[in-house]
């Protein structure tokens, strides 16, 4: 068998939450029986943005903040691929924020894993959009990716996991993969993934996470209920984890790709098989 790249040893600091994310993702891939030759992981730039190097799938290290547009390009070119986007909170919530909202809006069947450590790890610990006021001189309120998702009408899957709760995380990623593999749209999974070097929040998060999955009164299909829970828990100083919202909406690839059998990447572009149609187009210029 052809030797292809060997998965790398992670470059993360010992104890980094991203190890947990990688382990759960690999489990989820195997639980869903996904053929790794059909998977493309599109990663951002950041500590988190090196995860694709460690997993034997197709991997693309995109530009900082451009993880989602890159992943959308892959998905639209070949909707049969399992496309996973992965990056940090800086990558996704700062420079990538515009794309994130538009991805919620478009609802492409892509699993997006945002490893939130409330800091910029790779550039050495500056505050990020999710940082609390006071952290490294931050004066702004932290933002909440799930809440942002609830602010866009066509969102279909919003979950939050915690690197310190691996079983749930694996389940959420498995559900996310199932969501995208069945063409249901964008699966957004934020993972609380502590940066032990610049912002070690393991203990804090253990204490303040609130698991909606084990709240029997909680219904993730009730949008207003989800919003209410998120807002109220935030006010109590808690961070909800679990499957927070799910809904149905046509996926981007469904409404954009005319030939559902063969996306643009699989089209026969030989002159011979297209000549008739090319000639027909030329005729339109005869006026």
């Amino acid at each position: 068998m052809t030797q292809v790249f060997e998965p790398a040893k992670p470059i993360w600091c010992a104890g980094c939450g991203d190890f947990g994310v990688q382990a759960s993702l690999q489990k989820a891939l195997s639980e869903t029986g996904t053929n790794l030759n059909d998977v493309v992981i599109v990663a951002g730039i950041g500590c988190s943005g090196t995860i694709q190097n460690n997993i034997p799938t197709y991997g693309y290290h995109s530009l900082h903040g451009r993880t989602l547009p890159s992943a959308i390009g892959v998905k639209l070119a070949n909707p049969k691929l399992t496309v996973i986007a992965a990056g940090g909170d800086g990558d996704g919530y700062a420079i990538g924020m515009g794309h994130l909202i538009h991805t919620f809006k478009r609802n492409p069947s892509i699993l997006y894993i945002i490893m939130n450590n409330e800091t910029y790890g790779l550039t050495k610990g500056q505050y990020s959009p999710t940082s609390n006021p006071g952290f490294e001189g931050n004066v702004e309120n932290g933002m909440d990716g799930i809440l942002v998702g609830l602010g866009v009408p066509s969102t279909t899957f919003l979950a939050r996991g915690f690197a310190g709760a691996p079983a749930q995380l694996t389940r959420l990623l498995t559900d996310g993969l199932t969501h995208v593999q069945s063409g249901k749209g964008f699966a957004f999974v934020e993972v609380l993934s502590p940066c032990v070097t610049y912002n070690d929040t393991y203990k804090l998060w253990k204490n303040i996470t609130y698991d909606v999955d084990s709240d029997t009164n909680f219904n993730p299909r009730d949008k207003i209920g989800s919003y209410t829970t998120v807002i109220n828990k935030r006010e109590e100083g808690k961070i909800p984890i679990g499957l927070i919202y799910s809904a149905d909406h046509p996926s981007l690839e469904q409404v954009s790709v005319d030939d559902q059998e063969k996306g643009p990447a699989l089209q026969d572009i030989s002159l011979a098989s297209n000549m008739d149609r090319y000639e027909a187009v030329m005729k339109t210029f005869l006026g």
Binding site: M1, N37, V40, G59, Y60, P69, A71, V74, A77, H99
Partner: protein, 593 residues
């Protein structure tokens, strides 16, 4: 009054102008269609402001039995909906021109123009408001008058209106026809009688294609196998998105309007590495935003075609005006050093050919291929003969199938090769997994900072610029090859230079012209062309002589290189160029003698 009727046998140029929204451009489009259907060559341009309604706007159409490729120097017929339109064209007016003036607000002051100019005062707006209530139909009335003046039979004009408005809601067609009839009536009143519909000009001629450069490049891209486009609206690039959007449904392609240019180029990079031939098109501000993505294509070796429809900068600049002022940023822009090709179509046929070739080049060499257009070539309409669809081929470069892979012991996405080009796979290929990255990397795509590897990777990428020389488009020499007077110019200066050369020839000055098609890597043929010239005129639509800078850096200073530059947002005119040349020559000979 018959005296001022023109026949279509002449080389004739008509300008229709008024306020934006007056429908001037529709009249020129209708006229272009009529001329074209008679087998004439047509060149047509528009001049609008960056606003939707109001402000001066005009269209110009020129028709000739000659193979014209520019506006020429003189306007023979003017349809003016206001005085501003007359003033706008005053300098270019032929002494024997005819002006059809909308006299609703008063007749045209005859002192504004030479007294040899013939003026028809017809109150289009008033007439149309009185009869149809909506002013916007006045252009169809004016069309009737100018059509009669040009000698088109009424029937033929009516047919064009039908084919233009036939598909629209019934009242639209009806009102246009009503307006047209009002126009005919007033033409008659002014002595412009109907032409004979069996006029010799209506003989059956081979139909020509009427195309803009934007249409041609889009069509070329389609035929070149592009099946993914991402973009964000921007003048004058939006057309490309809109044409592909029209065609792709039949070809399994996808056009995605993105939320901005950053998203667009990254979508295209994603689609490209998934195996779809991908293109983006942008201009000015959008171009500046995609420099990072361009570098990513270069560093990560992702095939991508970028169409830059240059417009007048800097910054938001003059969005509807022509310029060729992105050349240096296309060549040098973006941090760090990475390979890329910059191609410069000059004719509409070039646009097609380069549009078709660029996706091959991108995949064969795995880098960004930039097609540098300019607003003139993008938007101006030209008649061309049929395009040869069969001469092209699809070459996907070193793309590996699962079968190819099965024969390979090792596959690394960035393996070192003599030509710098590594074999590549696309996702879903069994056992063809890759790591693609814009960080420096080793042969497998793992991030790597080793010094020796770094040097080898930089050299691998840059050597592609040499490997590609055999495949890059080459320019053409026009004119008198034995002459020692040479022109160099790209994009929409092409047609103007050719016509200026004709004017110079009339003055006894023979010249030649090299139209390069590849400015990065700059064609070696330019060097030989320079060597064969005693004097060289580089004609550019910019302030700093960007093309001339590229030439000088590579080939050294030519003993007599003159820049002929224009950067006021308007196309050169042939006489402007020929006169500049004559002036420069006169000055030189004054120095020499």
């Amino acid at each position: 009054m018959e005296s001022s009727r023109t026949t279509v046998d002449e080389d004739i140029c008509i300008m229709v102008g008024g306020q934006g929204g007056d429908g001037s451009l529709t009249v020129t489009a209708l006229l272009a269609g009529l001329f074209r259907r008679r087998g004439l060559n047509v060149y047509s341009s528009r001049n609008v402001l960056s606003r939707i309604k109001g402000g001066h706007a005009d269209g110009v159409v020129r028709a000739s039995r000659n193979n014209i490729k520019c506006l020429g120097d003189h306007v023979k017929v003017v349809v003016a909906f206001d005085e501003e339109a007359v003033l706008a064209t005053k300098d270019d007016l032929d002494p024997n021109a005819t002006i059809i003036f909308d006299s609703s607000a008063g007749e045209l002051d005859p002192k504004l123009v030479d007294n040899t100019v013939k003026i028809y005062n017809i109150p289009f707006t008033k007439l149309i408001l009185a009869e149809i209530r909506r002013e916007l139909f006045k252009n169809s009335a004016s069309f009737a008058v100018v059509g009669r003046l040009l000698g088109f039979p009424d029937e033929e004009m009516l047919q064009s209106l039908n084919s233009r408005y036939g598909a629209k809601a019934a009242p639209i067609l009806e009102n246009n026809i009503r307006a047209f009839k009002i126009g005919l009536e007033w033409a008659g009143k002014n002595g412009l009688t109907a032409a004979d519909s069996t006029s010799p000009n209506t003989v059956d001629v081979k139909q020509k294609l009427l195309m803009t450069g934007n249409e041609a490049v889009s069509y070329g891209l389609l035929v070149g196998g592009v099946r993914f486009f991402a973009g964000y609206p921007i003048t004058p690039a939006t057309d490309v998105m809109e044409y592909l959007q029209k065609w792709f449904p039949k070809f399994g392609g996808v056009v995605k309007q993105a939320e901005d240019e950053l998203s667009a180029i990254n979508m295209a990079l994603g689609a490209a590495l998934a195996g779809a031939r991908s293109v983006i098109a942008t201009s000015g501000p959008g171009l500046s935003l995609i420099h990072e993505g361009m570098g990513q294509a270069g560093a990560a070796e992702i095939p991508l075609v970028i169409v830059d429809t240059q417009r007048a900068g800097p910054s938001t600049g003059l969005p509807t005006k022509i310029e060729q002022s992105d050349l240096q940023t296309l060549v040098y822009g973006g941090h760090g050093e990475f390979p890329r090709f910059v191609l410069t179509p000059g004719s509409v046929e070039d646009c097609f050919n380069i549009g078709r070739l660029a996706p091959n080049l991108a995949e064969m060499y795995q880098l960004p291929v930039i097609i540098a257009m300019d607003l003139g070539i993008c938007q101006n309409t030209v008649t061309i003969e049929s395009l040869d669809l069969h001469s092209g081929k699809i070459d996907r470069g070193k793309r590996l199938t699962a079968e190819d892979l099965a024969k390979m012991p090792v596959y690394g996405r960035y393996s070192f090769t003599d030509d710098g080009v590594s074999p590549y796979t696309v996702p879903s290929t069994e056992n063809g997994r890759f790591l693609i990255t814009g960080n420096e990397h080793n042969e497998f795509g793992h991030v790597n900072t080793d010094k020796l590897n770094r040097v080898k990777m930089m050299e691998k990428r840059s050597i592609k610029m040499k490997s590609a020389l055999k495949d890059l488009p080459r320019g053409t020499v026009y004119g008198d090859e034995s002459s020692k007077i040479g022109f160099i110019g790209i994009g929409s200066t092409y047609g103007v230079i050719l016509e200026a050369m004709g004017l110079l020839a009339k003055e006894g000055v023979s010249s030649k012209y090299y139209k390069p098609l590849t400015i990065l890597p700059l064609e070696d043929a330019i060097g030989s062309f320079l060597d064969g010239c005693d004097e060289v005129y580089v004609v550019e639509q910019n302030q700093s002589g960007q093309l001339s800078n590229l030439i000088t850096l590579k080939f050294g200073r030519h003993k007599q290189l003159h820049n002929i530059l224009r950067f006021d947002g308007n196309l050169f005119r042939p006489r402007e160029i020929s006169q500049r040349v004559l002036q420069i020559r006169e000055k030189q000979s004054a120095i020499v003698h």
